[in-house]
């Protein structure tokens, strides 16, 4: 079960990376980041079964960081939307040369 858990979490992480690479909507990209965090949580819990309960404790911290990140990130997206009337990353090119 450990190996299938690690395989599933690797696949989920890869799906998250692919989603970040080929979407333009900032909110969907954000959801893909959450998916990657969840894949890592699955690895932590799977390894906690053989290496001790510390892995499960660490998942709590990952969840706290993810919640903080979601709150701040979504308010940044809201602020950008108020500025540009769009959440597409195509329009966020203020730092791009030319």
């Amino acid at each position: 079960m450990l190996n299938s858990a690690l395989a599933i979490s690797a696949i989920l992480f890869t799906i998250g990376v692919a989603g970040v690479l080929f979407r333009r909507n900032a909110i969907v990209i954000f959801m893909c980041v959450e998916l990657m965090l969840n894949a890592v949580n699955l690895t932590f819990v799977a390894l906690a079964q053989v290496l001790g309960i510390g892995g499960q404790v660490f998942v709590l911290f990952v969840m706290a960081v993810a919640a903080a990140e979601a709150a701040v990130g979504l308010s940044i997206i809201l602020a950008v939307y108020r500025h540009k009337q769009s959440v597409s990353l195509q329009n966020m090119n203020l730092l791009k040369d030319g």
Binding site: I15, V17, M31, L35, L60, A67, A70, V72, A79
Partner: protein, 173 residues
């Protein structure tokens, strides 16, 4: 037939299929709802891995609070209506599939890995700890013991996130 491992593969399959649907749906609302399905399937995997308390937290915090926040922002920005697709062109799609395949190839040895016996706990020792201290106590005791400082730092981080979200969401600073 109904072995634990079969259940594990079943819920893992649900998680993977709904994650794929999540990244390929055009509407952000559909993406968010498929992500909720993925999170529930991962919670089921947590239960099968002897982490019942983490599974409850997963449903409450992720599938509950965080995804409601996402849906709230999507509806606030009125993105639910059908518009032009935000999925990049075939070139970017090809690059994403290529990089994803390469990454999966690199992560593939994980599924065949075996941990050295010297660092492994004896089988069932986490379950024994949960029997002894209770399912929540097994996670909570280290939180106030070995992980006390990270715990306090997490509380400061959450406070900073609250203040930051309020400041960023204000119309005028």
């Amino acid at each position: 037939m109904f072995s634990l491992h079969n259940f594990f593969v079943f819920f893992g399959g649900i998680a993977i299929v709904s994650a794929l649907l999540c990244i390929t749906r055009r509407s952000p609302i559909a993406s968010a709802l498929w992500l909720v399905v993925t999170l529930f399937a991962i919670a089921a995997l947590f239960v099968l891995l002897d982490a019942q308390f983490i599974a409850v937290l997963q449903v409450l915090v992720y599938a509950g609070a965080i995804m409601v926040l996402f849906l709230f922002v999507i509806m606030l920005l009125n993105l639910g209506r059908p518009g032009p697709s935000d999925i990049k062109g075939p070139l970017a799609l090809g690059v994403a599939v290529l990089l994803g395949g390469a990454m999966l190839f690199l992560l593939n040895p994980l599924s065949r890995t075996t941990l050295p016996g010297s660092i492994q706990l004896p089988a069932g020792s986490v379950a024994a700890l949960q029997q002894q201290r209770g399912i929540i106590g097994a996670v909570a005791n280290p939180l106030f013991d070995a992980y006390l400082i990270p715990f306090e730092i997490a509380s400061v981080l959450l406070l900073a996130a609250i203040v930051g979200a309020v400041v960023l969401a204000k119309r005028k600073l």
